[in-house]
Amino acid sequence: MNLSISDNLAASLIAAPIMLPSLAGTMALIFRRRRRIVAAGISIGSTALQVLIAVALLIRASQSDPTPYAMGDWPAPFGIVLVLDQLAAWMLLLTSVVGFAVATHAALTKLDRKGWNFHPIFQFQLLGINGAFLTGDLFNLFVFFEVLLIASYGLILHGQGARRLTSGVQYVVVNLTGSTLFLVGLGILYGVTGTLNMADMAARGAQLAQGDRGLFLAGGLVLIAVFALKAALLPLHLWLPRAYSSTAPAVAALFAIMTKVGAYSIIRTTPLIFGDVAEPILLPAALGTIVLGFAGMLAARGLRDLAAFGLIGSTGTLLVAIALFDGDGLAAALYYLPHTTIAAALLFLTVDLIVRWRGVEGDAIVPTPRFAGASLLAFLFLAGGVALAGLPPLSGFFGKLLILDAALVSPHAAWIWGVILVTSLIAVVALARAGSTVFWKHDDTPELPEDREPPRLVQALPCLFLLALLVGLTVFAGPATRYTQGTAAQVLDKPLYLRSVLGTATTPSPNAQGDAP
């Protein structure tokens, strides 16, 4: 074989979504005090580069089977591997575009000047999220969860204030308990199977003695409970509204991906390792989550609460599709997943602009004096609301349609149809109420503060970018659904994954290739 340096680099590109933010984060740390503008430039440049890398990885993943990348050059069951497949590439692309929009928004609105370390922490947050999507090892998944959590503790407290600190303590304690539970599940699974590699565990889990089977499934359910905690599934959702509505809205926009990390982990591990063990619990919990999320929107008194509950509801819709655990359901879920993430991020960023440009009453859903730029914000709020509620013409409508279509084969189809349709209506009512109060009614009594920021229209660019992505996802729904169908088929093809990761075929390792010209 005649392998060149460019082949090595191409193989190593799989590690780039982890290496790049760690480098950029460190660089931003160096420049953060003296040259803030350089730090912001590094951060935004890094996210832009991550978009390009994610596109390259997506193209590669769509043309080949899952590709393992041995980090320490030890083959799969012994060393730690990263695995690039269509699912991972899809999630990486989503993370990078949302990361790009949020980093730009933070720089434009000067959110990054409220403390010293916004950009370094932001990059480490992306590092953790990208790593969680790429890793093929369960303990490594735990480590990347910790990395993204530690960074999220920093981001959630960014800007400080008493309310943010109080909810920050709760967020940290909840997630520490979640991490503890993660280790319990991991410990049980390792004790039973003697491995932590996902592919190896899937292979060994299928051959367990009857007596060990129960313990194995119990470990699996503990892990799924942890993932459900991250995804804010019904009984485990209580941490989310308060944490997301008291942090800076731009940070909450990035955190829209964090619930999807939980959803991703369920998609990754359940069909591969645990089979249909969680099915009877997941579906009712997801339906309940939708009801609770969208009903919560109706009760929200602030725009940030509204967006946070909308995020819970739409993640519930996503989990319903995942809980079907068949090809069509997963394909629908994977089409709806980027849509709901981008829609929630768009809504949070718009709310941030409303708070800034309005100047009074914070994010409360009350009438205020007329303010400049209101028509642009009303348009963005309408677009975000339409997207989150899943109305035509944006991609949420197609996503919900695909989910409803996939649910037809389920024995619980009536429940799924009823809940999704009725809650969509509730969401529309809640968003219409909030939007008309904020943008149509006026009340001139509150005094405008003197130091109010004048609206700078350029600040709306990241929102428009996200909106353009939603439009793109709608216009190119054909290619996108073809891709997600391929992804769903790949996720459910367990033998293919095992063969690709554990197979005797040589894994691309830079050292071995470099020594063999």
């Binding site: 303590v169 709760q170 503890t180």
Partner: protein, 140 residues
């Protein structure tokens, strides 16, 4: 008493204490509870490679059997992470206490222990006047 019984009981007792304490209303017991839980987990992880006495984990010329080295590596990682986390949660609780004047986890002051409404603002102001700036940030 076998070693298995001893270890299992220790893990159970630590978990029990951890769950009880982390459900308390004030931050100090919660911090202790989370720490207890992480101790329990460290022991548990250590035990998942089966308990073997006097067996080396990696290599020894005289060894007849080996113990599983991987759980020990996992415990090491878990200890490092949980130690960092404990430090973070302690600093965070202290900071919250200083900013809000109460150490209730839900942020609602308990009238039996915490300074009264009017006193609290004064109290926070006095605290803030000569407190150590723990996170090294300039105050606005």
């Amino acid at each position: 008493m076998s070693m298995e019984f001893l270890i299992a009981t220790a893990i159970g007792a630590l978990t029990w204490a951890g769950i009880y304490l982390s459900l308390r209303g004030r931050t100090f017991p919660v911090v202790l509870g989370v720490t207890m839980l992480s101790y329990a987990i460290n022991l548990f992880l250590f035990a998942i490679g089966r308990l073997k006495v006097g067996a080396p984990p990696i290599f020894s010329e005289e060894a007849a059997t080996y113990t599983d080295p991987l759980p020990q590596a996992l415990v090491l990682t878990a200890i490092v992470i949980s130690f960092g986390m404990s430090a973070l949660v302690v600093v965070l609780s202290l900071r919250t206490f200083l900013e809000t004047g109460t150490d209730q986890v839900d942020g609602e002051p308990d009238p039996a222990i915490d300074p009264l409404d009017g006193d609290r603002d004064e109290w926070i102001k006095r605290r803030n006047a000569h407190r150590i700036d723990m996170l090294g940030e300039t105050r606005p």
